[in-house]
């Protein structure tokens, strides 16, 4: 039975979290920023699942389940806001190339 050290998983999660955070602040497109946030959430999820398996206990996995629900809700509202913003820009007739640069 080969085993994988727990720190490997945690390291992957840490890398993903960092990349996600950097995405959020490097990107100017609100949508891509949101993608970065999803990346961060997933990193946290991986951490929780890792610990859950390590402890042989379910709380971590339940947490991940809830995070997915939250992510879905957040995405719905966030995308609605973005669509709304887009509509503003469109009606205000601004150069399309500058859309959603935040």
């Amino acid at each position: 039975m080969t085993t994988i050290p727990i720190s490997w998983y945690l390291a992957v999660a840490a890398v993903l979290f960092t990349i996600g955070a950097v995405t959020v602040f490097v990107k100017r497109n609100a949508l891509v920023m949101l993608l970065g946030i999803e990346l961060m959430l997933n990193a946290a999820n991986l951490t929780a699942v890792t610990f859950s398996s390590y402890f042989r206990e379910l709380a971590g996995q339940i947490l991940v389940f809830f995070v997915m629900v939250v992510a879905a809700a957040e995405a719905a509202v966030g995308l609605a806001i973005i669509v709304l913003l887009f509509r503003h820009r469109e009606t205000l007739n601004v150069d399309e190339a500058q859309l959603l640069k935040l």
Partner: protein, 493 residues
């Protein structure tokens, strides 16, 4: 089923609010646009939820739903504060809904669902429920911030709030995951038990990092420097009644959770333990955050020309004061402060909202010129609320600050008290500036008379009575807070 700890009374307020919210939503769907009906229904639901909360007062600390929530004095008191804030927000929104032609049902429903999240946050005994409650609040408030859809400022505010809020939520979540890794649990009481003993090196590091992440997340929610950056923009852009709501009820809930997590779960035990190691750090970090919030909040507020922005910085400064109470471990003082702050800030915003009129057009402080004697029913209450925010004796703001500073001094934070009192002096400058503009400046153009709705007058009366009652006769509330057994608790069973 006994083993699941199903106890509907324990979540009575949430049940009532949710049912009311759904009802209001459905009514709106079938016969839209009936503001009075929906508003009264929502208000009735809030009052009923208040009754349900009061019924829990004698309950003592008990947990329910497999230790997910806890019923203690804090739960009841803060639930009432939040409900009061929501109720006043409904009153404040009365004219706004007509002017903006906003479907009232959905607006009220969102307020009610947001309130559910807040009361749950206050009751949470488990990091998982805290996370969900926090998300419930923020998602509801994202939508509310963007509610004036025709206005780009509002949409912009919602987008900023959303992006920054989600960003900070990710930190919070990572923190929860790390804490779970350090202690094997998400239950606060269980966690407190684990950290009251020594932990291994690896766990200590996880614990520290997790707590730091949590501090970042909470710091964002309760608007403390340096995680405050979203506040001015969001407060400025959001519709004023929503700003009023944002600056009070969710903040109160956030502080309650902050106390439960940091002060109770990781208390400075004074013995060699993981909790004690951690406590020395979070106390240092919170001290820094408190000082930064008080100084930056107050000084930057001086430079503002927009009253909503000014109140946003003032709200950051007040968060700094409350953190002093968190450090002093005086739960009652924090609870009282949040009650007072909710009342006076909502009072302020009620008038700002009314004066801003349709489209939030009149929000510059300069545009308050001449309001003074032309419409004293607006100017005098606003002056009183501002003076109360400045902590003038005789008003509730003074009693709240005095209590807070007094406990902090007794708890060994004299330097914070000195800074706090000094910053209070600074704050007078900008609060007073509004009063001066109102009473001593001639307006550039004719000042119109703003009609006062009945709901607005009701909000004014409640807030004014609150400011003076709590300023002159706070003993009752003090007694209630002080005699509450186990005002703040976390529970294992």
């Amino acid at each position: 089923m006994e083993s699941l700890g199903i106890n509907y009374r324990a979540i009575g307020p949430e049940l009532v609010l949710t049912v009311t919210g759904v009802l209001v939503m459905l009514l709106e769907a079938f016969s839209p646009g009936k503001k009075v009906r929906d508003g009264i229904l929502a208000a009735a639901g809030i009052v009923l939820a208040g009754v349900a909360a009061l019924a829990l007062w004698e309950e003592g600390p008990v947990t329910a739903f497999s230790r997910m929530v806890i019923v203690d004095g804090f739960r009841v008191f803060f639930t009432l504060v939040i409900l009061l804030g929501t109720l006043l927000t409904i009153f404040v929104s009365w004219g706004f809904l007509d002017e903006e032609r906003i479907p009232p049902g959905e607006y009220f429903a969102l307020l009610l669902f947001g309130a559910v999240g807040m009361t749950l946050l206050v009751a949470g005994n488990d990091l998982m429920i805290l996370f969900l409650a926090l998300e419930t609040i923020t998602i509801a408030t994202y939508v509310l911030a963007g509610y004036r859809r025709e206005d780009l400022r509002s949409t912009e505010s919602a987008l900023k709030y959303f992006l920054l809020g989600a960003f900070s939520s990710a930190f919070l979540l990572y923190g929860i995951a790390l804490l779970y890794g350090a202690t094997r649990t998400t239950n606060l009481a269980e966690m407190a038990r684990v950290v009251s003993g020594p932990l291994g090196q690896a766990e200590i590091v996880l614990l520290m990092a997790g707590a730091a992440m949590l501090l970042i997340g909470f710091g964002f929610k309760v608007t403390t420097v340096p995680f405050h950056v979203w506040t001015p923009d969001v407060y400025e852009g959001a519709p004023t009644p929503v700003t009023a709501f944002l600056s009070t009820a969710p903040k109160a809930a956030g502080f309650a959770a902050f106390l439960r997590v940091f002060s109770l779960t990781f208390p400075p035990l004074g013995i060699e333990s993981a909790a004690d190691q951690l406590a020395s750090h979070w106390v240092a970090a919170v001290t820094a955050m408190s000082i930064l919030s008080m100084t930056f909040g107050n000084f930057i507020a001086i430079a503002q020309t927009n009253i909503k922005r000014m109140l946003a910085y003032s709200s950051i400064a007040h968060a700094g004061y409350v953190l002093i109470g968190v450090l002093a471990r005086d739960w009652a003082a924090v609870a009282f402060y949040m009650l007072v702050y909710t009342i006076m800030n909502l009072g302020c915003f009620a008038i700002v909202a009314l004066w801003a009129r349709r489209g939030d057009e009149r929000v510059l402080i300069a545009e308050y010129a001449g309001l003074g004697f032309r419409q004293p029913l607006l100017s005098f209450p606003l002056a009183i609320f501002l003076v109360s925010l400045a902590g003038f004796p005789g008003t509730a703001g003074f009693v709240a600050k005095f209590w807070l500073f007094k406990s902090a001094w007794g708890a060994g934070f004299p330097e914070l008290v000195i800074i706090g009192v000094l910053m209070t002096v600074v704050s007078v400058y900008y609060y007073l500036y509004v009063v001066i503009v109102m009473f001593f400046r001639e307006p550039k153009e004719e000042v119109p008379r703003v009609p006062l709705s009945r709901a607005f007058v009701a909000a004014m009366v409640v807030a004014l009575v609150g400011v003076f009652y709590l300023g002159l006769l706070p003993t009752r509330v003090f007694a209630v807070l002080n005699t509450a057994q186990n005002l703040l608790a976390i529970g294992q069973r």
